[in-house]
């Protein structure tokens, strides 16, 4: 995708020009709705405080309308890729997972309910293969060591 105006703002990417457009539209629609509602409601509601509160309601509706207009005008700057779970690399994911968390006991020790869940997800085989290949592996041993007291308590129970 072209675009040298992409920026990261508030944890997502935006196009600088579209951002300026959104600020103007969002501001104008919400403020317009608020001010117009305050003026109109002021003619029908005697208590100006209540009129102002209801005007705030219209202002908030205006925010949503402004956002909807921006959503129609400016497309998201996200690449959404569907169904790209890379099951080829399951062993790689498992290696990262075991290194990160460590694991005590293998699939055989799992309660039947959990084991059948893994089986239904077609993950049981991958876990078994990984555990067979790495049963003395560094990752597991290391994590076991790091778990310390909490780990030993877990083993006892």
């Amino acid at each position: 995708m072209r675009n040298d105006r992409l920026l990261e703002v508030w944890n997502d990417t935006v196009d600088g020009h579209h951002l300026i457009g959104s600020l103007i539209i969002g501001g104008a629609v919400s403020l317009g709705a608020f001010q117009a509602a305050e003026w109109l409601l002021g003619m029908f509601i005697d208590d100006p405080r209540m009129a102002r509160t209801y005007a705030m309601l219209f202002g908030i509706i205006g925010c949503v309308v402004g956002g909807a207009i921006c959503a129609c005008l400016f497309r998201p700057k996200r690449e959404v890729v569907e169904d790209t779970v890379d099951t080829e690399n399951l062993q790689g994911v498992l290696a990262a997972l075991y290194a990160d968390y460590g694991s005590r006991g293998g699939v055989e020790d799992l309660p039947e309910a959990v084991r059948s869940e893994l089986r239904e997800l077609e993950l049981e085989e991958a876990f078994l293969v990984y555990e067979r290949d790495h049963v003395q592996g560094d990752a597991v041993a290391l994590a076991e060591h790091d778990l310390g007291r909490a780990g030993r308590e877990g083993v006892k129970s």
């Binding site: 969002g26 400016f74 700057k77 994911v93 005590r104 877990g154």
Partner: protein, 460 residues
């Protein structure tokens, strides 16, 4: 008592449904922080004069629904649904990489359902136990807020930096209050909004500055992979106790009870801690991932419910991060609900609802949220996540929130109100980013400025 309950039932029911529907939708939008969305809408509901039971069910059904649907972007897109969803990213990402994001989603949501149902009665009982101390707490509130603020600051990511930064931050708020008072303007929500939306305000300023803008340039759009979803049950309403195994259900229940009792701590911190406690006790790594997710999302529900309800029922004072932030309008929404800093007198839902009403309407709100958000997110998660990520640009979300800043700021204090929102947001956003002086600490700083500072200066 029955008559009073029945008389308010229709409005409680109606507002609960509105809250659940609105916040189920908002939960799907990533980055829609709780305080920026729940606080202004609850304030609106208070100020247009909805009866107390309706205000209460709107808030509670909204918060519970949001913490269910926030699991959708978290699990399927790998972006946190809101602040409370961030502690679940790591486990959710692993399950996504294993090709089973729907498991992450279902475990989270089912944990949330169970915890929300348990948290309401536990919270009510605990609030009753604390209620005898209500008078004492109201009288000593200014000092309790100071102690709570120091503790919350110390346990924030900023540690001592956050503790020390409280001083200047409180000073800024006191100074702003004196400035606006000189022009006859008294502000409350503007501060909340400024604090809650600070990260956006400070980011907008940052990209205006050429040097920082260069650092934030990206050469291509952010890439998300939307994971597939597989339905594993028949019918529309899956049984949460079947989605979780027995150990997961019991851990979820246990942590829901425990986190209901620790209502003064930061809800994100509780979510992290409870997850770690349980995680270290589960042996197998796969079981650990799924159990941690169920427990953590359960805690996002229970801690929110407890942090809002216990201070509200027992004291009427916003003595917790949630009560001071997203739930603030339940305590303080002048002119309708007020907390008088001098006398400790409160006039809010604390006086307007009785114990039974808190319990029954609380359960009603949770059940409404379950009936709406739970089957929705279980059945339509993937389509919803796909729609949001493909059709709602980040620019549109920013435009909406900037509109909200303008409307609320101008509504509460005219141009001065707007300037206060921007000032507090800019300062707070930077303090949070640079020092780890996070939003929860900032809310407590606000209460020190309005409660503790006047009490201390009266002594001098």
């Amino acid at each position: 008592m029955m008559d009073a309950l029945l008389a308010q039932l229709p409005v409680a029911l109606g507002m609960g449904i509105i809250g659940a529907v609105v916040f189920s939708a908002i939960g799907l939008i990533s980055g829609s922080d709780e305080t920026t969305t729940i606080a202004p809408l609850t304030l609106l509901v208070v100020l247009i004069g909805v009866p107390p039971a309706g205000v209460y069910t709107f808030f509670l059904a909204g918060a519970v629904s949001k913490h269910m649907t926030h699991a959708v972007p978290t699990a399927l897109l790998g972006i946190p649904g809101d602040t409370m969803a961030t502690p679940m990213m790591r486990e959710a990402n692993y399950l996504r990489q294993l090709g089973v994001p729907h498991i992450a989603l279902r475990k989270m949501i089912s944990g949330g359902v169970i915890a929300a149902l348990i948290a309401v009665p536990v919270t009510v009982v605990f609030a009753l136990l604390l209620a005898p101390f209500g008078g004492f707490v109201q009288h000593t509130a200014p000092y309790l807020f100071l102690i709570a603020a120091l503790a919350i600051a110390y346990f924030s990511p900023g540690r001592w930096a956050a503790v020390l930064a409280l001083g200047p931050f409180v000073l800024i708020i006191v100074a702003l209050q004196n400035l606006t008072a000189a022009h006859g303007v008294k502000l409350g929500v503007s501060y909340f909004l400024g604090i809650a939306i600070g990260p956006l305000i400070s980011d907008l300023f940052l990209v205006l500055s050429p040097a920082e803008r260069a650092r934030r340039k990206r050469d291509r759009p952010a890439r998300f992979s939307l994971a597939p979803d597989v339905k594993r049950w028949s019918g529309y309403f899956p049984n949460p106790l079947k989605v979780l195994d027995s150990r997961q259900a019991s851990w979820t229940i246990g942590t829901a009870v425990a986190s209901s009792l620790t209502f003064v701590f930061s809800p994100v911190a509780m979510t992290v801690i409870m997850g770690e406690v349980v995680s270290s006790r589960i042996r197998h790594v796969y079981h650990r991932l799924t159990t941690t997710l169920a427990v953590r999302n359960g805690v996002t529900e229970s801690t929110y419910i407890a942090e809002a309800l216990i201070p509200l029922m027992a004291f009427g004072l916003p003595l917790s991060p949630v009560a001071a932030g997203p739930a603030a309008p339940l305590f303080n929404a002048p002119p309708r609900f007020t907390v008088d800093s001098a006398s400790g007198q409160v006039n809010n839902l604390h006086n307007l609802l009785g114990t039974w009403e808190f319990l029954i309407y609380g359960l009603l709100a949770v059940v409404l949220a379950l009936l709406i958000a739970y089957p929705f997110s279980m059945n339509y998660a993937r389509r919803a996540a796909s729609f949001v990520s493909r059709n709602i640009s980040h620019e549109a979300i920013i435009g909406t929130f900037v509109g909200l800043i303008l409307v609320i700021g101008l509504w509460e204090g005219g141009l001065l109100g707007l300037l206060v929102v921007v000032t507090v947001g800019l300062v707070g956003g930077f303090l949070s980013r640079l020092l780890g002086f996070n939003i929860g600490v900032q809310f407590m700083g606000f209460y020190i400025a309005v409660l503790t500072v006047p009490a201390l200066t009266a002594l001098l």
